[in-house]
């Protein structure tokens, strides 16, 4: 049908201009499933066991009065496609794939995890090892920089955009890009002096240090970006508005104390669900994507 939709796929509408798909006005297009399906991809966050979410799921069940099934998923594409085809109702999408989910699958994110004091997110860092001859970002010129993979936000898109705009450094022209596959590999590679420098998510680095995989002084940070949001949680656009409201409330009314979720995420200093909007929190990500020429068309 004909309606304003911005970058959204043509099956969605965005009349209110908040950049996410509106709930369909026609009640026949709204759905009210008996079982809610919830999935979560750990990519730049620590991997978690299924059991970490169990207390939260109980809470969600109680709040919505519906069955909830949880799937820990290890692939973004599967998650987005599942939501697009109506097989997924509640999800947490990681930073980089959030815009794609919003535009392609009708995802409506509304919260992210934050620490008790309200701080949230992580930073992209460019790291090197002591004595590499790289003291500041400009020194990368003529040397080698390790990315993770072309779809990662902090592992590729953010550093590419920043190096280009702030330092006028282009891959291939000014430095040799290599892809390590994972943040862990990039960090380990720098610590082992296999890579001269790498751009990584500092949340992963902190985890590796706390687990003694590397020593804190094995790596030196030469650049730290602004804060990026972490995994955004939300629902699919065509759930009934009342149901969406209940789910929202469930997130914000969840009491973390003594739950399995706290036990797991307190390690990364997270302790509450913070309300947010995609329009505001993902602004920086969208800018980076635009700078990299990434389109959200699902083709």
């Amino acid at each position: 049908q004909d309606c304003p939709r911005g970058d959204l796929d043509e099956r969605f509408c965005d009349a209110d201009g908040d950049l996410i798909a509106d709930i369909p006005t026609d009640p026949s297009e709204q759905i009210d499933p008996d079982t809610l399906i919830f999935a979560f991809t750990p990519v730049e966050d620590p991997a978690v066991y299924k059991s970490a979410w169990s207390d939260f799921l109980d809470h969600l069940k109680a709040e919505t009065g519906k069955d909830v099934v949880f799937f820990p998923v290890q692939n973004n594409a599967a998650q987005i496609e599942a939501m697009r085809s109506g097989r997924l109702h509640i999800a947490g999408f990681n930073t980089g794939s959030n815009p794609l989910a919003v535009n392609c699958a009708g995802f409506r994110p509304f919260t992210i995890m934050a620490s008790k004091d309200g701080s949230f997110g992580y930073e992209m860092e460019i790291i090197t090892y002591p004595g590499s001859g790289i003291e500041k970002v400009e020194d990368i010129k003529g040397k080698q920089l390790a990315f993770t993979s072309p779809t990662s936000n902090s592992g590729f898109k953010a550093p590419s955009a920043i190096l280009k705009s702030d330092f006028d450094l282009l891959p291939e022209r000014d430095f040799e890009p290599v892809y390590s596959g994972k943040h862990d590999n990039s960090i380990l590679g720098v610590a082992n002096k296999d890579y001269m420098a790498a751009s990584i998510a500092n949340s992963v680095k902190l985890r590796m240090i706390s687990r003694d995989v590397i020593n804190e002084d094995d790596v030196v940070t030469i650049y730290k970006s602004q804060t990026f949001p972490t995994t955004g949680y939300g629902t699919v656009y065509n759930l009934k508005p009342e149901l969406q409201e209940k789910i929202r409330n469930a997130f914000f009314s969840f009491d973390w104390d003594g739950t399995s979720l706290e036990a797991e995420f307190s390690k990364s200093d997270e302790g509450q669900f913070l309300e947010m909007t995609y329009q505001e929190f993902w602004d920086v990500i969208r800018k980076i994507d635009a700078a990299n020429g990434v389109s959200y068309a699902c083709q």
């Binding site: 973004n76 496609e81 097989r87 794939s97 993979s149 290599v178 596959g181 994972k182 590999n185 083709q299």
Partner: protein, 271 residues
């Protein structure tokens, strides 16, 4: 005895009553286990979804076609890397797998009690230890890159090649080996003349089959930062670039068909 005397007539059954009871019980148990597993799967499946499956399949199909042909220009280097990694990895794997297979086959192992279990353990563990672990180990030792990819692929392939090969060795014709033994040949000569010619077709088949599996073993390569076509595949998937995905699939399909053709040719020539 399955032959029963009953009222003067001899009745024949394939198995004795006891045997068939055991078999029926076995089948029953097997079916029960399967049904149980199926119910677990079925219980966590939303069968309602199955009905509009064609619509979804069609949605993805229209997004995936036509393939983005000009993407092939960006695939040159990854294809080259993949080819090298698969070829070199397979060659190294075969070098390592052949001795292991000889040690594991019942009819060639020096000792069925001590050496065979070790060989089997090698076969089993190289294929059981998952790629992630090999990748991490190799990154620690070699550092990331194509070389780590080659080694990772090689180690991963040992189990497969050695297993199929040792089964082939166990099936050889023993009289040919005896004839060579009777000439006073040494242990190695017996292998080279009596056994190797007999397993050559199996060897060729296994080598080519593993090669095309290795072309597809993208997961490992991405993990060690070795690039290759697998990395392109997951990158394309992650941005839902289905036309690129379908192009990559066509490339892989071509590799499979080439390998199928080569394997038929080589086996035909050797058999």
């Amino acid at each position: 005895m399955p032959v029963l005397e009953q009222e003067g007539t001899q009745i024949w059954r394939r198995r004795t009553t006891g045997q068939s009871l055991v078999r029926w019980f076995g089948w029953l148990l097997g079916v029960a286990v399967f049904v149980y597993c199926w119910q677990i799967i079925s219980a966590s499946t939303t069968w309602f979804f199955v009905w509009d499956a064609p619509r979804i399949a069609n949605d993805i199909w229209t997004r995936a076609t036509p393939p983005k042909w000009d993407y092939i220009t960006q695939l040159g280097r990854p294809i080259w890397d993949t080819l090298n990694i698969a070829t070199l990895g397979t060659i190294i794997a075969l070098f390592l797998a052949v001795p292991v297979a000889f040690l594991a086959a019942r009819n060639t192992t020096p000792s069925a009690v001590f050496i065979r279990p070790v060989a089997l353990l090698i076969i089993v563990s190289t294929r059981s230890i998952n790629s992630l672990i090999w990748a991490l180990l190799l990154i620690a030792i070699i550092g990331p890159g194509v070389f780590a990819g080659v080694i990772a692929i090689a180690i991963r392939s040992i189990g497969f090649c050695a297993k199929l090969l040792y089964e082939a060795i166990e099936e050889i014709d023993h009289t040919q080996v005896e004839a060579i033994t009777a000439t006073g040949a040494s242990r190695w000569q017996i292998m080279a003349y009596g056994i190797v010619p007999q397993i050559l077709p199996a060897f060729a088949g296994i080598a080519v089959f593993r090669w095309d599996i290795n072309i597809r073993e993208s997961t490992v390569l991405g993990l060690v930062g070795a690039g290759g076509i697998g990395l392109q595949l997951s990158a394309s998937l992650n941005v839902l670039a289905w036309p690129q995905v379908s192009l990559i699939l066509i490339v892989i399909l071509i590799a499979v068909m080439i390998s199928e053709w080569v394997s038929a040719k080589v086996r035909g020539a050797i058999i």
